[in-house]
């Protein structure tokens, strides 16, 4: 940070320039007043981060190593890695199916959303009324998850829109949310539907930053739109795509509001249960603070590792093709 360098950042008494005392004094006083103003302006925010972010995080780590139920702090018991051993053991449902569901949910919905949004963002670039179309795709992002979840729950019902359309076309009804085989794909589709708009917005910014002469040159060389897409658009869009992928996967791995609205506790038979929802239930339905906190830690580590893998994957892929 070059803008941060200057005499005010150096350790006290390191290289105080020798100035005539009067000038130095007034200057110092001005500086000190400026610093005090800054600390006063920052104090509420820093205090907030300390009390509601840092201390709770430490508390979460302590809880994950303890066994505790209820609210009486005197009954808390240190159990080391016992919670982790239990939730990661083969007989626990946390790894299979819950963590597997979490990965399928996150990557499934992100894959659908990214492929669809790359296509739609491109198509919108070629037609008029661009702002209008983008707004339509963005609507779910300003709508409460309670509306999105409930409306889709009704759409999926035997008497709902989708089965109504299937019956009209001569197909049999599908029990989307009550059949363990279709429930997870059904919520994945809704998650993808809800996030396409944000991916379109960010990808559009990426598309606009690709210089026109690249396409002009390709045009002269006789490349068709399909070739232009694979040889110019996609490689140059890679940083934007990486960004969309990482943020959406991080979001997908920790999201559970939609599933909570649509299937309640992650049913039928854990078919739609995901890590964060299981943590929520262990904590607030069963009062198992320790177990739930250990689950949160596991999820946190998974998110961290997957982010690193994504970054690494895109970097090496970039070196191969360029």
């Amino acid at each position: 940070m070059t803008t941060m360098s200057g005499p005010w950042i150096e350790p006290e008494g390191a290289t105080t320039p020798v100035l005539p005392t009067r000038v130095a004094k007034t200057k110092n006083r001005g500086r000190r007043k400026e610093a005090w103003t800054a600390y006063v302006l920052l104090a509420p925010s820093l205090l907030f981060f300390l009390v509601f972010l840092l201390l709770p995080s430490i508390f979460a780590v302590v809880l994950s190593l303890s066994s505790w139920g209820g609210f009486d702090l005197s009954t808390i018991e240190f159990v080391g890695l016992g919670n982790f051993a239990r939730i990661l053991s083969p007989d626990s449902t946390f790894v299979v199916p819950i963590l597997i569901n979490t990965l399928v949910f996150a990557f499934g919905s992100v894959t659908i959303a990214v492929i669809a949004s790359v296509a739609i963002a491109q198509f919108i670039e070629r037609i008029s009324l661009q702002g209008f179309w983008r707004t339509l795709y963005f609507l779910p992002l300003v709508t409460t998850v309670v509306a999105v979840g409930n409306v889709w729950k009704y759409l999926y019902r035997p008497s709902g829109f989708i089965n109504g359309a299937l019956n009209f076309l001569g197909f049999k009804s599908i029990p989307f949310l009550t059949d363990p085989g279709t429930a997870l794909p059904a919520v994945i589709v809704v998650a993808a539907w809800g996030s396409i708009g944000s991916a379109i917005l960010i990808l559009t910014a990426g598309l606009k930053s690709i210089p026109d002469p690249y396409y002009e040159a390709a045009e002269i060389d006789g490349a068709n739109s399909w070739q232009q897409f694979w040889k110019i658009t996609l490689p140059l869009l890679r940083p934007t795509l990486l960004f969309v992928l990482i943020t959406q996967v991080i979001g997908g791995l920790q999201s559970f509001a939609l599933i909570n609205v649509m299937t309640g506790n992650g049913g039928p038979a854990n078919a739609t249960n995901v890590g964060a929802l299981e943590m929520y239930q262990q904590a607030f339905a069963f009062g198992q603070w320790g177990t739930a906190s250990a689950m949160a830690m596991v999820l946190f580590v998974i998110i961290f590792v997957i982010t690193l893998i994504e970054l690494w994957f895109f970097r090496t892929k970039g070196e191969d093709t360029e």
Binding site: M4, W8, R31, E34, T37, A38, L41, S45, L46, F48, F49, F52, L53, P56, F59, A60, F71, I120, Q122, F123, R126, I127, W133, T135, Y137, L139, V142, T143, T144, V145, V146, A147, N150, V151, Y154, R157, S159, G164, A165, F168, S198, L201, Y215, E216, E219, S225, Q228, F243, T247, I250, Q254, A257, V261, A276, M279, Y280, A283, F284, A296, L299
Partner: protein, 296 residues
């Protein structure tokens, strides 16, 4: 724009692109229209086979029922209180901290800026349990003794819904970036005129930072209006505190099963309208902030 560029922008087959975009957008809006149609369907009609998209015997009774049975008035009041408190607090603290980090010189500035950036990496689900336990066991609040036991703690008031959202690392970052681009000469001129540091912040900086403040205010307002998980949690301790989304979700099970769906849809339509109006009227500001919040 040269002819070839125009070719790329418009494409060789604009009608093909248009078809795809239009078909996709039908998929985007059908759920919303099904919700609106459903809110006008009469109790006997909803859930019957075969499915009809349009209400066969349209009625407004679901809207009336939503107000009485879902208690929408109280839910609305709670939602407005929480949203206004959080938006005001985020705007104020972000403008304060953002100004300090952008324009003032003091020891530790780069460290504090890095701390602010780091707070944006915290996954919210990690804080759910400890923050909840803190609210319930807050000493000397809601009937609690000095050790934080015996009462409801902070969950006895609407403030419990606001507290975890009062300061936003992203908000500070956004204001800092915007204010850093405002020329120093403006501040120096005010300093030469003998204005106090507070005056400079309030009378010189804040008016300049209005566009960023509008963007941040919109993002915060809409996010808070729609907030679900934390409010659900606190409302499970104290049902008095339910906001619109949480109330509509939790009160469903108390409705007459024959007409639950249409009443819920009517409630949802009403709860969506305020954010939809705000979003559509200030779209440019909102989108700009949204893209920025992604770009961090």
């Amino acid at each position: 724009m040269s002819k070839k560029v125009a070719l790329r922008r418009k494409g060789k087959y604009p009608w093909l692109s248009l078809t795809f975009v239009a078909l996709g957008s039908v998929l985007m809006v059908v759920p919303f229209f099904d919700m609106i149609m459903g809110s006008f369907k009469s109790p006997g009609e909803y859930g019957k086979l075969p499915y009809h998209f349009l209400p066969q015997t349209p009625t407004l009774s679901n809207y009336a029922a939503a107000f009485t049975q879902l208690d929408l008035g109280r839910l609305f009041a709670n939602s407005i209180f929480v949203t206004v408190v959080v938006t005001t607090s985020v705007l104020l603290t972000s403008a304060m901290a953002g100004y300090a980090l952008a324009k003032l010189r003091f020891p530790g500035r780069s460290v504090i800026f890095r701390i602010v950036l780091a707070t944006m990496m915290f996954p919210p689900f990690l804080l759910l349990i400890p923050d909840f336990l803190m609210m319930v066991n807050w000493p000397l609040a809601g009937g609690n003794d000095i050790f934080g036991t015996g009462g409801q703690g902070l969950t006895s008031t609407l403030l419990a819904l606001c507290i975890p959202f009062l300061v936003s690392g992203f908000g500070i970052f956004l204001m800092r970036q915007f204010m850093a681009a405002i020329p120093d000469e403006l501040l120096d001129a005010a300093r030469l005129d003998g204005a106090s540091e507070f005056r400079i912040w309030f009378s010189v900086m804040l008016p300049q930072a209005k566009p960023a403040a509008i963007t941040l205010g919109l993002l915060t307002f809409i996010a808070q209006w729609n907030e679900y998980i934390w409010t659900l949690l606190i409302s499970s301790v104290n049902p008095e505190l339910m906001t619109l989304p949480v109330g509509i979700q939790l009160l469903q099970s108390f409705l007459d099963p024959a007409s639950t769906a249409p009443i819920v849809m009517a409630g949802l339509v009403i709860s969506i309208i305020p954010v939809l109006v705000i979003f559509l009227s200030f779209q440019k500001f909102y989108i700009r902030g949204f893209v920025l919040s992604g770009m961090k």
